[in-house]
């Protein structure tokens, strides 16, 4: 065994410290969400809930957090579906057709550049543009503007999948007289399906957690997404920590469940393909 892979006592101590540093804040959010408001503002914090309560969760749900939850869900899913459809079509065109003026590579490189542009730079002109066309303070406006994040990401990943696809299937189908649309929908789409699902994870996470554009574009309380709700909580109710943490946990669970589900589906999907 090499000196790199050897594990001694020091290793186990370091491992414990690292795991503790990662888990302690996460434990703290869970513990705080189950404490009563008075227990949360004791001058001497308690290490675990002495009085276990679900009150915080009930409270935030009664205050209408589900509304924000649905907003976030709607925006994240729709933005992802839009990105996947657009990038599937465009990636297929880029992978199978050589556009004039080197447009293929110019476009793909520009899309990479977009990923390093700070969003606040794009925010000013987009704000004026969206105000003019009435997309400010609308969830559809958010869905469109989130394409700034999700579309470049999806384009590159889906382009990779389509590049990896052998052209022979499509050629055979063309000889059999299948139309372009037919080839795209009944041959290319099923073959890249698993890849599209995998791509959707990060796209959903990005849109679910996005903060800056939501802050700038949404004004009405009924339209707020979860990250906005959390930041309002931090600002307005200095010490309603139990409720704040309950919102935080409610905002985290869907992402964990979703990635777990997709991951599982993907691994079973691949093994089915092998059979």
């Amino acid at each position: 065994m090499s000196s790199l892979a050897r594990k001694g006592v020091v290793f186990w101590i370091l491992l414990a410290v690292v795991v503790l540093l990662v888990l302690a804040p996460i434990y703290w959010i869970v513990a705080t969400s189950f404490k009563t408001p008075t227990e949360n503002i004791l001058p001497e914090p308690t290490l675990y809930p002495h009085v276990f309560t679900l009150r915080n969760y009930v409270q935030v749900i009664e205050a209408g957090i589900l509304r924000n939850f649905i907003n976030s869900l709607f925006v994240a899913i729709t933005a992802t579906v839009v990105s996947l459809v657009l990038s599937f079509l465009a990636a297929y065109a880029l992978g199978r057709h050589r556009f004039p003026l080197g447009l293929n590579s110019v476009f793909l490189v520009w899309v990479l550049v977009v990923k390093i542009l700070p969003p606040i730079v794009l925010a000013i002109p987009l704000y004026t543009l969206f105000t003019r066309v009435g997309l400010i303070n609308s969830l559809w406006g958010l869905i469109i503007v989130y394409q700034v994040y999700t579309l470049p990401y999806c384009l590159w990943i889906v382009f990779g999948f389509i590049k990896a696809l052998p052209v022979e299937f499509e050629e055979a189908a063309t000889i059999d007289g299948a139309s372009r649309t037919r080839i795209l929908l009944s041959i290319v789409l099923p073959l890249t399906g698993g890849g599209l699902v995998a791509t959707s994870i990060f796209s959903v996470i990005i849109a679910w957690n996005e903060f800056l554009f939501a802050l700038l574009f949404i004004r009405t309380p009924a339209l707020l997404t979860l990250p906005l709700k959390i930041v309002n909580f931090i600002g307005e109710y200095e010490t309603l920590w139990g409720e704040l943490m309950a919102v935080g946990i409610l905002a985290t669970l869907p992402i964990l469940l979703f990635s777990g589900y997709v991951y599982k589906r993907l691994t079973t999907g691949f093994s089915m393909g092998l059979r």
């Binding site: 000196s3 050897r6 540093l21 465009a90 925010a123 004026t128 800056l212």
Partner: protein, 290 residues
Amino acid sequence: MIRQQRGNLFYYVIFLPAFLVILFLTIYPVFSVLLNSLFRYNFLAGERSFLGIGNFLRIIGEQMFRKAFLNTLIFSFSATLVEASLGVFLALLFYGNYAGKRLTMITIIFPMMLSTMVICAIWKTMYHYEIGILNHLLTSLGVPRMGWLISKRMALFSVIIVDVWQWTPFAFIIVQAGLNSMPRELFEAASIDGAGYLSTVFYIVFPILANQILLVFLLRTIDTFRIFDKVYALTQGGPGNATETVSYFIYREGFSFFNLGRASAAAVYTLIVIALIASFYIRNILKKEI
């Protein structure tokens, strides 16, 4: 021939939607920012008059913008450096097989999966001066309380800690992917030749991992340079202007005062710095490839 042309049209049709979206959401705004930076432009008042480079000269002369710029550099540089170093350290620590490896790997990646706002919520409560757990731990150790977010000297440092907690896992993932792609025999050969831990790390691991480490630096520098969410949620730029950053400056100029000209000029400064940073790293990464 006709079929061929119709086939080409098909490609144009399916490419167009994504192309238009990218055009409207990115190319138009970038040109618009470049143009607006040359104007005195207040969105609310609707006034707009040509100013040339006046905005650029004025904001760079202002103490607030300089402070914001300096803070952003400090934040970006230190957060990136700490995250990359810790990432390398963790990748080395977790190399090889041991009981419970899968579980610890999943645990370590966890902070990356949380939303930034949730993370800010946790740390804001832990940083609380009177009833936060961190100050409680300090006082029980006999150390005086610290004004994590309310002291001018500490605030930026505290925001850096939050970023390090959230993004070190990312550095770790990239570096450990590089480490695991190296043939194991390499390290075993080094051991047989009598190389100790540190010399293996310095003479074998670092040179081969140089690309991964540079990539971490590139991605984290670019991402930390746009720091906004954490400042907004944790300190709002305060106390005073201790945590004012360029993004926050642009936000305030553009969306509180609606001075789009000044905000655009600050945005152009950001673009220039980002372009410099990216080209510096990319040139180094490419040099390594050759």
